[in-house]
Amino acid sequence: MSRFFKSILLHILLTLLFGIGLGLAYSWFISPVTYVDANPALLRADFKDQFRIVIAASYASNQDLARARARLSLLGDADPIGELSAQAQRMLASGEAFENAQPLAELATDLRQGRVSEPFTPTAFPTFNTPDVPLTVTPTAAEPLLEATEEFVVTSLPTILFEQTPLTPITTAVRTPRSTFTPTAGPGAPFALMSQETLCNPGTPSLLQFMLMDSRKRQAPGIEIIVTWDQGEDRFFTGLKPELGDGYADFIMQANTTYNIRIVTGGTLAPNIIAPSCTDPNGQAYPGSLLLTFQQ
């Protein structure tokens, strides 16, 4: 190959590369592809959060679990349920009201269960019908004739009698009433300490573990717990470790320290909690863990 030919080939190659560079610069920077028909999976994270909130609010209204699941799938999350729980936790951690995070947590729970949770509905209050009763006025005496006299005459007032039928409740719905009704505790009902279990795991820190369940025995996220002891106080929420459960929370105890626990929702107190003593295989004593289970 002659030197001249090689030179021309090199020029052509360089020019081709230069042209490719120009084309890429134009298509990537000057006039890139513009999206006008994007799908929700491409949304920025904060807008995805807003979408989840609206999906959960819509689900709270229509209770259409399949549709909520389909809508969540549009966001392209690898774990939509986990994302819902995590967002609820983030909202609580940032100080938002529990009521704002609750629809997300409920949707996550229902998706996990695969069914719509029965909403809390108060029983229908019976309505009473007060019939329109014509007023009957029966004068007790003969019609007194009013005469202009100089003396002041007091005439007796007529007695008014009401003819009224007894009040009877009317049923507005044809639905047969339930034979029994078990009242369901509301979200602010107090928690009761159901069990206290000692856990001995040598080599692990002495944990005060909490598992909070609501009245339907579902794990309750976002419940604030206050632990106080003689030298301090700590506050935390359930559900901040979703991998261990939405109703789970824990706290590291020190040996020979007495703790008082207060569940903020409902104000339940569990005083004088101390780390249990366990014994390892070598006969050495060590502080164990405690699992406290509360239920509304």
């Binding site: 490719i20 298509s27 994007a38």
Partner: protein, 128 residues
């Protein structure tokens, strides 16, 4: 010297080859940049969503409004769809719903939201 005076000792046929090379190069670059590996948008805003996604979002807001009856919250939720006023957004969604055989319940929800947005008066916070 060529006519351009840039590339010495080059015939016109070679110059044509160079021009062809740059044209082909630009073409290849455009195809790669627009088709094969276009700029990927991963953090888009809701205003560039496809129309059906926007309508579904509006429907979700309408369904949520049927539960909480909070027009301010509904207007706030609709605001992420762009600078158009809430009534315009809901009206467009309602037209789309009528054209695309949405259920009567869905259309009713959108109509209720439209009514709420038409009568909604946002309260402005006046800083002291």
């Amino acid at each position: 010297m060529t006519a351009l005076g840039i590339i010495p000792h080059m015939s016109s046929s070679n110059l044509i080859k160079l021009v062809l090379a740059i044209v082909i190069g630009i073409g290849l670059g455009l195809v790669y940049g627009w088709v094969i590996d276009p700029v990927e948008y991963i953090d888009v805003t809701p205003d560039v969503l496809r129309e059906d996604y926007k309508v579904d979002y509006t429907l979700m807001v309408a369904e949520a409004y049927a539960n909480d009856f909070d027009p301010a919250l509904a207007a706030q939720r609709l605001a992420i769809l762009g600078s158009e006023p809430p009534t315009g957004i809901v009206n467009s969604a309602l037209e789309y719903a009528n054209l695309n055989n949405f259920t009567q319940e869905e259309i009713r929800s959108l109509q209720n939201l439209l009514t709420a947005m038409q009568t909604f008066q946002p309260v402005e916070d006046i800083a002291p």
